[in-house]
């Protein structure tokens, strides 16, 4: 199972003077079960890219295959695709609308054609997996705290049992604890339920901590697509396009310049700690 993008282009305002490539010749394969980070500054095309993956935007040219099937063939159900590729938008709490939390989470499963009972079962499971306590299920989603609202909204997508979960800036505006809670829960979902996760983020530190593969977008094209270690080796190039490597990566490079025999591969605090300790103790 996988998603394949083959020469995908997306052009805004085609045929007008404002014609711009939002996506330019994108070739990607997203393998089943991966945990992927997508980074890029605002306007780099990352939001456009993820909206292609569940068919909300249609490529101007090129093909997208989901599990080997061309999603642009006549009669392919976009609705079915959207329940397999769950997309959580930025500030997803702004989409809550039902009178109770449980009903809101049921919205997705009901749209999939499940009956009330089956939908509620899914909703229970999803709300549990994001750590919302059961006594809140009958409350209005509008009474919750910001972090809780966001988790309910994520549950709303999880309840559709997607095979791929895409999160666009899931931690924007949250405090450090709220951020860690959400990312840890996502990591747990990935580990336990083997969902493919695509995390769009501005935070290099977060991306480095969680993902196994990073796709760097710049001006509508894929600039790098590799493991965090390999991508952050290009920290100077990243800076030129308005991005940065995690702080520890810079530190390791600077230590090396000062003559410390450290390797520069560390991208997380834990890795940096081990590396420095091993050098300092020898």
């Amino acid at each position: 199972m996988s998603i394949i993008l083959d020469k995908v282009n997306y052009i805004y305002g085609q045929g007008t003077a404002y014609e711009t490539y939002a996506l330019k010749d994108i070739n990607l394969e997203i393998k089943d079960g991966q945990f992927i980070g997508v980074i890029g500054h605002t306007g780099s095309g990352k939001s456009t890219l993820i909206q292609h993956l569940n068919g909300l935007l249609r490529a101007t040219s090129g093909t997208i295959y989901y599990n080997g099937e061309d999603i642009y063939t006549e009669g392919y159900s976009m609705r079915a695709l959207r329940s397999k590729v769950g997309l959580v938008f930025q500030y997803p709490e702004h989409q809550l609308f039902e009178t109770t939390i449980l009903d809101d989470v049921c919205f997705g499963p009901m749209n999939q054609g499940l009956d009330k009972n089956a939908a509620q079962l899914r909703a229970f499971e999803a709300l549990h997996s994001v750590g919302i306590p059961e006594e809140l299920f009958d409350q209005s989603p509008f009474d919750l705290s910001g972090g809780q609202k966001r988790r309910v909204a994520i549950a709303g997508v999880l309840a559709m049992k997607p095979e791929v979960l895409i999160l666009d800036e899931p931690t924007a505006g949250l405090d450090p604890k709220g951020r860690d809670e959400i990312l840890d829960q996502v990591a747990e979902l990935h580990a336990k339920q083997h969902i493919t996760v695509i995390l769009v983020s501005h935070s290099m530190e977060d991306v480095a901590k969680y993902v196994e593969r990073i796709i760097v977008m710049n001006q509508g094209s894929v600039m790098y697509d590799d493991t965090p270690k390999n991508v952050f080796r290009y920290y100077k190039e990243l800076e030129q396009v308005g991005l940065a490597a995690p702080q520890v990566t810079y530190l390791m490079h600077e230590l090396q310049e000062k003559g410390f025999p450290v390797s520069c591969d560390a991208t997380t605090v834990e890795e940096a700690k081990q590396e420095i300790l091993s050098v300092m103790r020898s």
């Binding site: 909300l56 938008f89 709303g156």
Partner: protein, 266 residues
Amino acid sequence: MLRDITIGQYYPTGSVIHRMDPRVKLFGTLVFLISVFAYKGIVGFAIVTLFLAALISISKVPFRYMIKGLRAIMILMLITALFNLFLTPGEVLIQVWKLKITKEGVMSAIRMAIRLTYLILGTSLMTLTTTPNQLTDGLEKALKPLAKIHVPVHEISMMMSIALRFIPILIEETDKIMKAQMARGASFDEGNIIKKAKSLIPLLVPLFVSAFRRANDLAMAMEARCYCGGDGRTKMKPLRYQSLDYQAYAVLILYLALLLALRVVL
């Protein structure tokens, strides 16, 4: 899609029209609206068309950009045209079953379509060349006499300018919420009318919630910047007529007089 609505959007080009006093432009819009409904005959039509074309070219707003605004109301125009086409009695051209298309119907459908198009182009020309703030300043000043009889002129104009400022933001937000709900399997164009209306709830509730949140934030931001109504306020851009404005008034009155005269003569 929704983003194509250009009404209420400002398009800066720094043209002569942009620099005119908003009161002149308000008056001009009124004059133009009257002329669109008052013109008679092919000569009148030609004058109105020339006048509009001249204004658009002076404004330097790209014609393509103006046309975009028309797309959004295409359906409204089609319906009006269809009504006219089928419901005007007169000389029958084609008859299919009970529906008759008459020569008069065709004429009036065309006339109606042209009038609506001109109407939209004329008003959007005003909003494209006038910032909402200038527009409401103009209205406020033009309606000032009403304040004496306790009409809250300042408050109304402030409300209007805020509404205009937030239209593009709310349109974008609608787009975003629609997509978010579509990602949860919602569809907004399936089923009968009741089903369609029901499918709007997941869109409208979040939209209202967000509009209220924004209103709340905005009220606080305004208060924090010492806003307390119209009393004691000064203006950054006070309205003062320039010679350009008097010339524009003269042109407008001439134009209207010419059209009305034509109507009497023809």
